[in-house]
C-alpha cells in the first residue's frame, strides 16, 4: 500500500510540478538516449513473462520486448533497467514518467488507450481470463461457481470481468482482493478462496511454478471456460509518437522475422540472403531504420540478441519452459493464429 501511495503521490507531484513544455516528437526518445538506458516497467514476478531468475536477471516474454526495444535504440539489448510494478502501481508510474514503457501483461482496453493518456503499441500475447480451483472441490465448469470466494488482484481488467461474468450468469461471489500477487497466491493455496482468477497464461505459470509443498500441480485444475479477451501488450505515454513507433515495430520485427524464418541462429547467414524482403528487414537494403529513426541494422540487433517471436515464446512460456503453453492464438497468422505483423517496407 505504501508503495502504491508513493507511486500515486509521485505521479501527483510529477503532474503538478512537471514542466509544461510544448510536446514535440522524439522528446521521450531523446531523454532515453541521453540517459543511455530504457526504463521498462514489468510485473513483480510471473514465471515465463517477467521474473528475476536465480542470478537476479530478468527473463520472460515481456522482458524480451523491453530487450528488443533497447536493441533497436542502442544496438544493445541489455541497456534496460527493469522496474517491477504491481497492477496498481503501473499506470501512475507510466503517467508520471517513472518508466518509459510498460511491458507487463497489461490488457489493451479503450479507457486505458484514451482517458489514462496511454498508447498501446501491439499485442505481445493474446490471452483470456480463466479460473483455477483445487481438484478436491470437484468443480468441472465455471458455471458451477455460484457462491464461491474468489481471489483476485485489484485494479485489473480481471477484477471487472469477474464481476461481469458472475452478473451475466446470475451468480454471486465474494472477492478477496490483495495487492501483492504473492499474497493472493498464498491466500488461494491456503484455502482462503475457492477460486483464483487471472489471465489463463498466468494461471498456468502459477500452477507450474508456485504450488507450495506438500500440494502438487495435480491438486489444481484450470477450468475450461475463458471468460474474456485479454490482448496483452506494451504501453507508452501519449506525447512521443516516434518512441511509440519504435516500441510498436520492435515487436512487429520479432513476429516478421519468425514469419520469414530469421532466427538468432541463422541471422548472420540471412544477411547474405537475396530475398528482397529479408534484405529490407535486416537492413542490407538500407532505409527502414532511418525511417524509424534508429540504426539500419535494428532488426538484425533484435534477432541476434533477443531472437524472433517464436524463439522467445518457446524459450519462456512454450515447450522449452516449465509452463508448456501451446502457441494457440499466439501462432503466426500463417499457422492459424493471430500474430500478424504489417510488412516492413
Amino acid at each position: 500500500m505504501r508503495k502504491v501511495m508513493m507511486a500515486a503521490t509521485a505521479g501527483f507531484v510529477a503532474v503538478v510540478l512537471g514542466t509544461a513544455g510544448t510536446a514535440h516528437a522524439g522528446k521521450e526518445l531523446d531523454a532515453i538516449k541521453a540517459r543511455g538506458q530504457l526504463l521498462c516497467g514489468v510485473g513483480t514476478g510471473t514465471a515465463g513473462f517477467h521474473l528475476a531468475n536465480t542470478q537476479g536477471k530478468w527473463v520472460g516474454l515481456n522482458v524480451d520486448v523491453c530487450r528488443a526495444v533497447s536493441a533497436a535504440i542502442f544496438g544493445d539489448a541489455d541497456k534496460v533497467k527493469y522496474v517491477p510494478l504491481t497492477a496498481q502501481q503501473r499506470f501512475t508510474a507510466l503517467q508520471s514518467g517513472e518508466v518509459d514503457m510498460l511491458s507487463n501483461n497489461t490488457t489493451w482496453t479503450l479507457t486505458r488507450d484514451t482517458a489514462l493518456g496511454f498508447d498501446f503499441t501491439g499485442v505481445t500475447y493474446y490471452d483470456g481470463q480463466g479460473f483455477m480451483v483445487p481438484k478436491k472441490l470437484g468443480v468441472k465448469s465455471a458455471k458451477e461457481l455460484n457462491g464461491a470466494t474468489v481471489c483476485v488482484a485489484p485494479g485489473t481488467t480481471t477484477e471487472l470481468n469477474l464481476a461481469d461474468y458472475f452478473r451475466a450468469n446470475k451468480m454471486t461471489f465474494k472477492p478477496v482482493v490483495i495487492e501483492k500477487v504473492d499474497e493472493i497466491r498464498a491466500a488461494f493455496f491456503s484455502g482462503r478462496c475457492d477460486v483464483y482468477t487471472t489471465d489463463a497464461s498466468s494461471l498456468a505459470a502459477t500452477r507450474a511454478a508456485n504450488v507450495p509443498a506438500p500440494l502438487t500441480v495435480e491438486d489444481f485444475v484450470i477450468l475450461p471456460e475463458i471468460i474474456s479477451k485479454e490482448p496483452l501488450g506494451p504501453v507508452v505515454r501519449h506525447g512521443d509518437s516516434q518512441f511509440a513507433d519504435i516500441v510498436r515495430w520492435a515487436l512487429f520485427a520479432m513476429v516478421e522475422a519468425e514469419e520469414y524464418g530469421i532466427t538468432s541462429k541463422n541471422v548472420d547467414e540471412m544477411l547474405k540472403s537475396d530475398n528482397p524482403t529479408i534484405k529490407r528487414i535486416l537492413g542490407t537494403t538500407p532505409g527502414m531504420g532511418k525511417a524509424l529513426g534508429v540504426a539500419d541494422n535494428w532488426v538484425y540487433q533484435i534477432i541476434k540478441q533477443v531472437g524472433n517471436y517464436g524463439e522467445s515464446f518457446d524459450r519462456n512460456v512454450g515447450p522449452g519452459s516449465p509452463l508448456k503453453i501451446a502457441r494457440g492464438q499466439n501462432a503466426l497468422w500463417t499457422q492459424g493464429g493471430l500474430q500478424y505483423a504489417p510488412p516492413i517496407r
Binding site: M1, V4, M5, A8, T9, G11, F12, V15, V16, L17, G18, A20, A23, A87, Q88, F91, T92, Q95, T111, R112, T114, A115, L116, G117, L137, L145, N146, G147, A148, T149, P154, G155, T156, E159, L160, L162, A163, D164, F166, R167, F173, K174, P175, V176, V177, I178, E179, K180, E183, A186, A187, S190, G191, R192, D194, R237, H238, G239
Partner: protein, 396 residues
C-alpha cells in the same frame, strides 16, 4: 509602568517605510500574494499537463458504474453501483474498524496500564512484556501474522469447527453465526435503545445529585444496564416478539445465511487493537504515575478500596494527563487502518486505489482520500479537545 508609558507616548512621525504598521501590512500582502501566485501556477500547470497528456480530469467519474465487487460491505453494494458508492463503502469500512479499534484499545490499554502498576508481580510482568512485545514490532508484521494465523490455522468451510449445536461455525472463511431475520420492529428497537441510553444517563445524573444532597447511594450502574437493555426488549415484546432467525448452513462452497465476521476484518481489528493498546497502556500508566503519591494514600486513609480509589480518585485526575496524548493514538488507529490493503480488507484506501486504477484519475482520487482522512481526523481531534476542556481542572 514602562508599557503604559510606551503606549501613551505621542506618536512620532516616521517615514512610511519605517512605520512598523505599514511594514507589517506590506509584508503580509506580499506573502499572501506569493502563496496565491504559487497555487495559481501549480493548478494551472497541473491542468495544462493533464490536458497535454490527454488524461481525463474532473469528478464526473464518480457517477459512473464501478463494475468491481467488494467482499465486505456494511451497506448494499453491487458491481452495478457507482464509484461514489464504492468509495462510500470504503469510508464506512474504515470507520467501522477505526471506531471499534478506538473503543477496544481504550478498554484493553487502560486495563494493561493499570495492570503494570499492580503490586502483583506476575500480573505487572505480563503487562510489561505485552507492552514491550507489541510496541516494538511494526504493525504491518502483526497484521500479516494474525492474517496468516487465521487463514492457515483454521480449516476450510467444509471442515468448519461448529459450536452451540451447529449454529456457530468457525473456518478460514470467518466466523458465521445466526442473526434475526430483518423485521420492521428492529428499527423501533434501535429507537428504544437510544431512548434507554438517554434514560440511563438521566438516571445517573439524578442519582449523583441525590447522593451529593443526601449521601444516599443509588445503584445507578446496574439500574442503567436494566434501562438500556429493557427498553428495546419491551419494544420487541410489543412488536409481537418475532423470533425468526437466519441460520448459517453449508451450501455449495460456503456457508449461507446468518452473518459473518471475515478473517481480513478480524486480523486488522485484532492487530490494530493489540498494537495501539500497548501505547495506550503506557499513556495510562504515565497519567497515574504523574499523580502525587499522597492522592492514593489519602484515598486509602478515607477507607476506599483499591478499586474505588482508582475509579473515584486516581483515574479522574489522571485523565487530565492521559487525554491529550490519547488523541494522537486515536488518530493513529484511524490512519494505521489503511494498512488494511496488505491483508485485503476493503477499506477506503482499497476502494480509492481500485478507482484510481480503473479511471486513471489519480489527482482527484488522492484529493478525495485526503479530504476523507482529514475530516475523520479533525472530527476526532475536535471531540477530544472538547472532552479535554470538559475534564480540565476548573479554577475558580
Amino acid at each position: 509602568m514602562a508599557v503604559e508609558a510606551f503606549g501613551s507616548a505621542p506618536r512620532v512621525k516616521v517615514a512610511p517605510w519605517n512605520d512598523p504598521v505599514v511594514r507589517g501590512w506590506v509584508f503580509q500582502i506580499v506573502v499572501v500574494g506569493l502563496v496565491a501566485a504559487l497555487a495559481w501556477y501549480l493548478i494551472g500547470n497541473t491542468l495544462d499537463n493533464l490536458n497535454r497528456q490527454k488524461i481525463a480530469s474532473g469528478f464526473d467519474y464518480l457517477g459512473r458504474e464501478a463494475g468491481f465487487e467488494i467482499g465486505d460491505t456494511m451497506i448494499s453494494y453491487s458491481p452495478a453501483s457507482t464509484y461514489a458508492r464504492a468509495i462510500w463503502v470504503g469510508i464506512l469500512n474504515t470507520l467501522r474498524v477505526a471506531v471499534l479499534g478506538i473503543i477496544l484499545s481504550t478498554i484493553l490499554g487502560t486495563l494493561v496500564g493499570i495492570g503494570r502498576l499492580s503490586p502483583n508481580w506476575l500480573l505487572s510482568k505480563i503487562c510489561e512484556w505485552y507492552v514491550e512485545a507489541f510496541r516494538n514490532v511494526p504493525l504491518l508484521l502483526w497484521l500479516f501474522l494474525f492474517y496468516k494465523l487465521i487463514v492457515e490455522a483454521f480449516p476450510g468451510p467444509r471442515q468448519a469447527i461448529s459450536a452451540f449445536w451447529n449454529s456457530v461455525f468457525l473456518s478460514n472463511r470467518g466466523l458465521y453465526f445466526p442473526v434475526p431475520v430483518a423485521d420492521p420492529i428492529h428499527k423501533w428497537m434501535g429507537v428504544g435503545l437510544l431512548a434507554g441510553i438517554i434514560g440511563a444517563i438521566a438516571l445517573h445524573r439524578w442519582a449523583k445529585k441525590r447522593q451529593e444532597a443526601t449521601g444516599q447511594p443509588f445503584p445507578s450502574i446496574s439500574a442503567g444496564v436494566v434501562v438500556v437493555i429493557g427498553t428495546p426488549a419491551l419494544v420487541w415484546f410489543a412488536g409481537g416478539a418475532p423470533t425468526t432467525m437466519s441460520w448459517p448452513a453449508l451450501k455449495g462452497f460456503n456457508f449461507e445465511g446468518g452473518t459473518v465476521i471475515q478473517p481480513e476484518f478480524t486480523a486488522l481489528l485484532v492487530g490494530l487493537v493489540l498494537y495501539t493498546s500497548a501505547f495506550v497502556a503506557e499513556i495510562v500508566r504515565s497519567g497515574i504515575l504523574a499523580l502525587h503519591k499522597g492522592q492514593s494514600e489519602a484515598a486509602a486513609a478515607l477507607g476506599l478500596s483499591r478499586g474505588q480509589s482508582m475509579r473515584l480518585v486516581l483515574l479522574p485526575q489522571a485523565l487530565r494527563v492521559i487525554v491529550p496524548p490519547m488523541t494522537s493514538q486515536y488518530l493513529n488507529i484511524t490512519k494505521n487502518s489503511s494498512l488494511a490493503i496488505a491483508i485485503g480488507y476493503p477499506d477506503l484506501v482499497a476502494s480509492i486505489n481500485v478507482t484510481i486504477n480503473q479511471t486513471g484519475q489519480a489527482i482527484e482520487n488522492i484529493l478525495l482520500i485526503m479530504a476523507a482522512y482529514l475530516s475523520v481526523s479533525l472530527s476526532i481531534s475536535a471531540f477530544m479537545n472538547w472532552y479535554n476542556r470538559r475534564i480540565a481542572l476548573t479554577e475558580r
